[in-house]
């Protein structure tokens, strides 16, 4: 039986951080300690994003090389991916999957080239969206700073043809608020997308995880704040889901 995955997300900005709505970043701990901890706890998968890589125009390869050596769980890396070489370099230092965000919105052909060269299985498309002034779901890039004018649903239709391995879908409005995932949107998008969706943004309680699994066909959930700011661990989430009859890896 295919299991629901719980993937902690680590955000890096000179240090490990977490914000609210992609703003007000707080330092939440030491990167290496956290990687070691998650490795020890054998989490299902780990996401790592360097949120300043795009702005600084540099991917910190040596940093990723160093901690990938510590990491035996499947590792997805994102932030500042602009070229096919960026992807190749990150795979070489030990990333298993690469997350592409702004570059794909700027040029969907880049996403296609990445999928053609490295295969869908290692390309994750990351999409950050929020409700704009016209009450539409609009995609934002550059860590949520720049509106694109692209509407979420229109883009998803285009993406299905390019076939990335997964879509990491993050609601900026729900991010860091810890009041639950944007179930309505995720359900809608998952229905129209041929590509598996990883839901992100808003998990704050054990029940938030169960709620979205119950109401959608999502098989992967990412979360950050709940693991940084509460005592709850990814294993606690899975034990809770298991008690509700959801298939998880324990």
């Amino acid at each position: 039986m295919h299991k629901v995955r719980i993937a902690p997300t680590l955000l890096y900005k000179n240090n490990l951080v977490k914000g609210k709505n992609f703003k007000s970043w707080r330092v939440v701990g030491n990167l290496y300690q956290m990687i070691k901890l998650y490795n020890l706890r054998e989490v299902d998968e780990l996401f790592f994003f360097d949120i300043d890589a795009s702005k600084n125009n540099s991917i910190q390869l040596s940093l990723i090389d160093e901690f990938a050596d510590e990491c035996f769980v499947p590792l997805t890396v994102g932030g500042g991916i602009k070229s096919l070489d960026d992807i190749g370099n990150l795979l070489k230092v030990g990333a298993d999957k690469i997350c592409i965000n702004s570059s794909a919105m700027n040029d969907i052909n880049f996403l296609k080239k990445a999928v053609d060269k490295y295969g869908s299985q290692c390309i994750v498309l990351s999409i950050d969206y929020k409700i704009n002034k016209k009450e539409q779901k609009e995609i934002f890039i550059n860590s949520g700073n720049k509106p694109t004018g692209i509407l979420l649903e229109n883009f998803i239709e285009k993406v299905s043809k390019v076939e990335p391995g997964e879509i990491l879908l993050t609601s900026i409005d729900h991010d860091g608020i810890m009041k639950g995932y944007d179930i309505e949107t995720i359900k809608k998008i998952s229905k129209i997308s041929d590509v598996p969706i990883i839901a992100s943004g808003g998990a704050g309680s054990l029940n938030n995880f169960y709620e979205i699994i119950q109401k959608t066909n999502i098989k992967a959930l990412s979360a950050a704040s709940i693991f940084h700011f509460t005592e709850i661990t990814p294993l606690d989430v899975k034990l809770y889901l298991d008690s509700k009859g959801v298939k998880v890896r324990i």
Binding site: H2, V73, G94, Y118, S120
Partner: protein
């Protein structure tokens, strides 16, 4: 003269991330080389063919590197333990249908077909591996444990004696296959934590 310089040669044919395979082999204190040089491969006790990407691309790469005959010799004549992981396992088949109909290495009877399902593809994440028969690869390993999968195609294996384990994603497909010294894992043992490491360790003992 073969001097068996390395315990394991991991074949480098430009397909995806192999760093974690190397890391896992080193974990068992085995000497390992990532290589596409004939001499290195010929001088190794075991071969691992890793890989991600399409069947057609994988075969083209092996051909371009002029490795097909050597891999066949090592696996079929010298009969050294040969492991294929994910795409590597799929290349052991007679034929693949990804992109275009392409001939494979033909080590284990079968064809590579697209998973036919109403579920989303790729089949990605953790799923159970259920034994179909007893095997020394399963020493110290419990049945129905979870392993990490990423694939959209599966090995449609002609002979049930070659199918050691199956996994279900809407329908059951072979997740571990074997014919004597030749072994294939559809999942990534190097990313499957303790159970994956146990399996790799058992492969290193055959």
């Amino acid at each position: 003269m073969n001097i068996n310089k390395y315990d394991v040669a991991v074949i480098d044919y430009n397909t995806g991330n192999i760093d974690s395979v190397i890391k896992a082999i080193k974990y068992f204190n085995k000497s390992v080389i990532l290589t596409n040089k004939q001499k290195d491969i010929d001088n190794s006790k075991r071969i691992i063919l890793p890989g991600q990407g399409s069947f057609q691309f994988g075969m083209q790469q092996l051909e371009k590197l002029n490795l097909i005959d050597l891999i066949k010799k090592k696996a079929l004549i010298d009969k050294i333990p040969t492991l294929g992981i994910c795409l590597g396992m799929q290349l052991f088949a007679d034929l693949g249908y990804e992109k275009e109909k392409t001939a494979g290495l033909g080590f284990i009877k079968g064809e590579i077909k697209k998973i036919s399902t109403s579920l989303k593809l790729p089949h990605i994440g953790w799923n159970e591996v259920s034994f179909e028969q007893k095997n020394d690869l399963f020493d110290d390993l419990e049945n129905d444990k979870d392993f990490y999968f990423v694939h959209s195609y599966y090995f449609d294996c002609s002979k049930s004696k070659n199918i050691l384990a199956k996994t279900s994603y809407d329908f059951k497909f072979p997740s571990i296959i074997r014919d004597n010294n030749i072994v294939g894992f559809q999942f990534h043992p190097e990313k499957s934590l303790k159970n994956g490491f146990k399996l790799l360790n058992n492969f290193l003992k055959i």
